[in-house]
C-alpha cells in the first residue's frame, strides 16, 4: 500500500515530466519521495539577473496535508539569494510555507511563488535579524515559527 504522500508526489512528478516546469524552474533531482531539488532563476528584469539558486524540498508522510520543508541550498558553493525574506542559511520566511500552506498547493506552485517573490524584490539585503536567526536556527525551517509582517514582496 503506497502512502497518500507518495502517490500524490508520483502524480506531481509525472505532471512535471509530461508538461515540463515553468520558465526559469528546472527539476534537478527527484530520486525518491523524500527530497527533491530544483534550480530557480528569475527571468527578465530583476535584481537577480544571471543568478541561479537551488531550491530543496523535503517531504514527510503527511504531505500534502502538511507543508514541505523548503529552503535554498547553501552548500557546495551554492548561495541563497540576498533577499529581505531569505536568511543566509537558506531558510525562507514565506507564509505559504508555514501557516498559510494549503494542500491545494503543489511543488510547482511553491516554486512559482518563490520565483515571483524574488522577482518583486526592490532592494537586496538580508533580513534584519539574519545573524541572530542563523546562529540559533533549527535544521528544518518548518520548526521555525516565523512572524509574517510584510505583504509587499
Amino acid at each position: 500500500m503506497t502512502s497518500i504522500s507518495s502517490r500524490r508526489l508520483a502524480k506531481e512528478l509525472m505532471e512535471i515530466k509530461n508538461e515540463g516546469c515553468p520558465v526559469g524552474i528546472n527539476l534537478v533531482q527527484a530520486d525518491d519521495f523524500s527530497t527533491w531539488l530544483f534550480t530557480i532563476e528569475v527571468m527578465g528584469e530583476s535584481l537577480y539577473q544571471n543568478e541561479k539558486f537551488t531550491l530543496q524540498f523535503r517531504f514527510d508522510q503527511q504531505y500534502p496535508i502538511s507543508s514541505p520543508a523548503v529552503q535554498f541550498v547553501v552548500t557546495e558553493g551554492r548561495q541563497a539569494p540576498v533577499h529581505p525574506h531569505v536568511y543566509s542559511n537558506g531558510h525562507i520566511c514565506a507564509s505559504i510555507l508555514g501557516n498559510e500552506w494549503s494542500p491545494v498547493l503543489s511543488v510547482i506552485a511553491v516554486c512559482v511563488t518563490l520565483q515571483s517573490m524574488l522577482a518583486s524584490c526592490k532592494e537586496k539585503h538580508r533580513p534584519v535579524d539574519n545573524d541572530r536567526y542563523v546562529k540559533h536556527a533549527p535544521e528544518n525551517p518548518k520548526k521555525t515559527r516565523f512572524h509574517y509582517d510584510d505583504d509587499t514582496v
Binding site: 500500500m1 503506497t2 497518500i4 502517490r7 500524490r8 502524480k11 506531481e12 503527511q62 500534502p64 496535508i65 502538511s66 501557516n99 498559510e100 494549503s102 494542500p103 491545494v104
Partner: protein
Amino acid sequence: MNALTYVDAPDQNLVCCICRMPFVDPCTNQTCSHTFCRQCIIQSLAHSPQCPIDRSFLRIEDIHSADPIIRSLVDELVVKCSNEPAGCSYTCQRQLLESHIKNDCLYVLVPCPAGGCAEEVLRKDQVGHLCSHTSVTCEDCETSVRYNELEMHRSTCLKRFYRCEDCETEQACSSRAAHASCCHAAQVRCPQEHHGCPWEGRRKDVSSHTTTCSYEAIKGFFAIQDAQKANLVNENTLLKQKAETLESQLRVAQYELRCVQSALGPWSRIPTSRSMSVLPPSSQLPTPLQHNRTSPSLSYMPPGDQASITQYFPDISFDDSQARSISSAEDQRVPERPNFPHSTQSISSRVSFGGASIQNWQSTGSLPIGSGSRPSQNVVAPLNLNTTLEGSLEGLRESIVTLSTSLDSLGRRSDIALTNETLRLNEEVTSLRVALHGLRMQVHTIMMDRNAQVTGQGPGFDPLFIQGDIQWLPNRSHMQNPPHNSITKL
C-alpha cells in the same frame, strides 16, 4: 479505494485537489462549496481548520456528502482491477469493482476447497483444476497421494517399471540405481581405467577383457605403487606441516633476535668482527692533554660500530681519554674537558688542595698539576668493546672499584697534607710574632732613649704614631690604610 488505476485520464473537475485523484466518497463543504474526498478533507481539517482552497474557516460539521450527480460521475469512471499486478486484466466501472473482486476475480485468495485444508489458494486454481492440496491416486500402485507430491512418488513407486535401455528388460523404478550397477549389458570401462587402460565395453565382457588386459596383469605392481604413493603423499603432507611450523618458529626466533640485538646495542656483533679490532696497548697512546680528543679514541673500531656505540654511550670517549691520560707518562691526574665544565672544576679543586701548595695552584691558574707521587694503581683500563657485554660490564665495574679506592686514598692523603700544612703555618706565624715582638721592644727602647735625650721628660707622646718609621711590612706600603690599624692588628 484511493489506490485505483483509472483507464482514462479523469476529468479535472472530478479530481480532489488534495490527493490529485478522482474523488473517493466526495464531500462538499457548505460554506464555500468546494468538494474533496472525505478522507482528504478530514485530514486537512485536523491539520488546520480552513478550506484548503480559499482558506476560509471550516469546521468538520460543515462537511456534507457531495451532490449525487458528482458521486455518480466518479463512481462510473472505468478502473482497472486492483489485482492487475497478479494478472487480472478486468476493467469495469469503479462502483462495480467491489463485486468483481468479491465474486469473480480469479486472482483473489479463497479458502482451499479440499476438506480440512486451512490454506488459501487463488480462485483460478480452485475452479476446474486440481488443487495442490487434493489427493490423487497413483496409477501404478493405486495408493492415494497429494497432488503436489505425485512427482516424487512416481519416481519411487514400487509398482512402477521402466525399460532398461542396455539390457532391454523391464525393471522396477524403485531399484533403478541398483540395476544400473549390475546390468550385464551396461557400458562400463576397464577396472584398470585409472591406471590408463582405454578399454570400454559391456559389463559381461569385462571378465574376458581382464584376461588379456596388460594393465590387469601388473595389478599387483600397481597396488604396491599406489600404496607407496599414498605413503609419500602422507609423508609430504607431514613434512609440509613441519616446515611451516619450523618457519613460523624461525620467524619468532628472528623477531626475538632482533629484539635482543636492539637491546644489546653495540655488543650484539657477530663473533667474526672481533678479529677485525685490535686493542692497542695504553703505553703507545700519545698524551691526551694536547691531542685532538676525537681522532684517536676508538679508532680501532669500524666507523659504523663507533657511531652506534657513541649513540649508546655518549661519554665513552671521555672515559677512554681519561683512562689514557692517567696512564700516560706525565701522569696528569685530570685532563681538561670542555664539555664537562662542572665536574672538571670540582675535581681540579680537590686535586690541587691535596697534592700542591697554594702558590703552585695560583700560578698555574685553573689547570692543576699533580704532585708527581701519584701511585700507579689509579690507572683505569680503557673500555674494552671487543669482549662480550658481560665482560665489558665486568671491566666497567672494576674501573669503578679502582676509582672509588683511589678516590678514598686521595681524600685521606689530602686530609693529612692539609693537617701538616696547617701545623707548619701555625709554627711560622708564632715565630713571626715572636720576632715582631722583639722588634717592637727594641723600637720602644730606642724611642724612650731619644725622648730622654731631647726633653729629659716625655710628653706622653706614643712614638709608634710617627710616620715613616714603620716600614717593616713592605708589601703593604702602597696601601692607603692608616698604618696604626695594621699595628693594632698585630
